[in-house]
Amino acid sequence: MAGRELTLVQSVTDALRAEMRNDDSIIVLGEDVGANGGVFRATDGLQKEFGEERVLDTPLSENGIIGTAIGMALYGLKAVPEIQFLDFIYPGFDQIVNELAKFRYRSGGQYTPNVTIRAPYGGGIKGGHYHSQSTEAYFAHTAGLKVVVPSNPYDTKGLLIASIRDPDPVMFLEPKRIYRAIKAEVPEEAYTVPIGKAAVAQEGEQVTVVAYGAMLHVALQAAQKAKEKGVSCEVLDLRTLVPLDEDTFLTSVKKTGRLVVVHEAQRTAGFGAELAAIAAEKAIDSLEAPIVRVAGFDTPFPYTLENLYLPDVPRVMDAIQRVVGY
């Protein structure tokens, strides 16, 4: 099992390359994904290896990219469109929520488009409102879509390949803030990490801290600080929002009796609300403190003050201390 150190964004490319070598039905399409290899270089070198027929620079139109990807997939191809920033996806929203997510259901299982939409999401890159949003809740709220958010290079490759092989439509949201922040060993061959399975990123006893994507690293740092103060945190990396791994989540909450949810998406009706509701519905007897959400604010995403908008270690620490001291 040959491995080498890759960043998260290199792992995206590596997943696409490995799977495209295995399967000539995979088509990558999007803005600047060809000659330029994507604005984040996530598709770097793919057009050179697989040709312009399989790695397409499309006209600049998100509804066009997603709509044509659906049409390719209805024909039997596996389409992997890239939306340059999650913030730009809205012209294609109708094609995602009303078409892609609904084809299987509305056709009685006749038409089952296999589309994996890749989109970098989240703040922390000085991108202002239109290059920073974290709107996973829109998609988690849509029947018929799976939502996957990796947090490290190994999972990125395994989850992306699993998403491409999965017969259902998948929103694959990439934490661009940590595209190059961490390197980890990634096997050269194709492998999968199962969709719908959370990971215990760090075991602990007193508080469950749930996060995904870029925020996992903030949660881990906060857990480290908490440890220095004598508080033992269990950190969960959700990896998949839909379908949610409720078993791993509830097992941890029941074990620790305290829950802190961290996400950079805005607070109201964010995915943390769903997690809090599930904990309240199914683990109320185990809870020893109120659930606390550490989230982005109900403001548009700010440019200059983004570091105050994004959950950081002091805010997560504060939440941990509040639930432990309750």
Binding site: R54, S61, N63, G64, T68, Y75, Y111, P243
Partner: protein, 360 residues
């Protein structure tokens, strides 16, 4: 810039002999049969809705020649992205009235398990793609499928059908723009029936018709009399042949008229000028084609009588049987969301059982 209106059979019944497609008597009768099937099915559907037996219906009255002519120009295995006013393509490909009425009633025999409103069909065996209510979404999907055909060197072509209102949607622009750039085998069929519910063409676009828009996408635009089934057939055949030969997409504007309301929920008398409707009624595509058949010596009153009688019986039988079939099982509500039921859906289904034990 607006292309000349293509007509084969003029409104006065005269024939442009040089443009007449080479179709046998049998084929011409078939075209008539499919148009009549749609007309009679629609009459029955609207009647059942008015009687309170069907929840909703969308009729294609007045527009039969557009999709019947275009559908006839394709091979049966070509891909057809339908909208909700073109049921004749599925019928000519072998979908039965019975299958249609099971869908209209959303019963347990419905191929899509009662999951969509009437007229929102999905016929995979006949290569007629599942349709939705939001407009123009199928146009850009059709371009994607055409890309797939080209990529796989598949000889089939794609046709996407839509109305004049859809041409204002972003998916119309994206679909045609991508198709022009990719030069893929797709035919865009605009059923210009002059009205988008209550909004006339003059408020939809300032361009002279729809066909002219093709120029901006680098493809040919054809403007055809949509009440002349032979003209539509001719235009579509040309476009389909061109697509199959690798010469790229075409936009066809079939100029027609919606002789009824938008749907059974609409009252067109609120906005349609009466004289306009009367003028178009005189251009009824079935009447025009009857006159043509007569002129060719192919009109056979006994054949038509028999045809009508047969279709009437088939419709009656289809309705009777569809009305006798129960609703889909409650558990079907939870199926086909994903390939496999998720733990959440399973839990929700189980939960429903607590108050509704009939859920299996």
């Amino acid at each position: 810039m607006t292309p000349k209106l293509l007509q084969v059979v003029r409104e006065d019944g005269g024939i442009e002999a040089a443009l007449e497609p080479k179709l046998s008597e049998g084929q011409l009768r078939e075209l008539y049969k499919y148009m009549l099937m749609v007309r009679m099915m629609d009459e029955r559907g609207m009647l059942l809705q008015r009687q309170g037996r069907l929840g909703f219906y969308i009729s294609a009255e007045g527009q039969e020649a557009v999709h019947v002519g275009a559908g006839y120009a394709m091979e049966p295995d070509d891909w057809y992205y339908a909208h909700y006013r073109d049921p004749g393509v599925a019928l000519m490909r072998g979908v039965s009235f019975q299958q249609v009425f099971h869908q209209l009633y959303g019963n347990a025999e419905d191929a899509i398990h009662g999951r969509q409103m009437p007229n929102h069909f999905s016929w995979k065996e006949q290569n007629v793609v599942s349709l939705s209510s939001p407009l123009a979404t199928q146009i850009v999907q059709a371009t994607g499928t055409a890309y797939g055909l080209k990529y796989r060197k598949d000889r089939r072509v794609v046709m996407a059908s839509f109305g004049d209102g859809s041409t204002s949607e972003p998916d119309f622009h994206a679909g045609l723009n991508f198709a022009g750039v990719w030069k893929v085998p797709v035919v865009f069929l605009c059923n210009n029936n002059q009205w988008a519910i209550s909004v006339p063409m003059s408020k939809q676009t300032a361009s002279e018709g729809i066909a002219v828009k093709a120029i901006a996408y680098g493809m040919e635009g054809i403007r055809v009399d949509g009440n002349d089934v032979l003209a539509v057939y001719r235009a579509a055949k040309e476009a389909v042949d061109r697509a199959r030969a690798g010469q790229g997409p075409t936009l066809i504007e079939a100029v027609t008229y919606r002789m009824g309301p938008h749907s059974s929920s609409d009252d067109a008398s609120r906005y349609t000028p009466k004289e306009e409707l009367e003028a178009w009624r005189r251009k009824d595509p079935l009447v025009r084609f009857e006159a043509y058949l007569e002129r060719k010596g192919f009109w056979d009153a006994a054949w038509v009588e028999q045809l009508r009688e047969g279709l009437k019986n088939d419709l009656q039988e289809a309705v009777k049987r569809a009305e006798a079939v129960p609703k889909p099982p409650l558990s079907s509500m939870f199926q086909d969301v994903f390939a496999e039921e998720t733990p959440q859906l399973r839990a929700q289904r189980e939960d429903l059982k607590r108050t509704h034990p009939e859920v299996e």
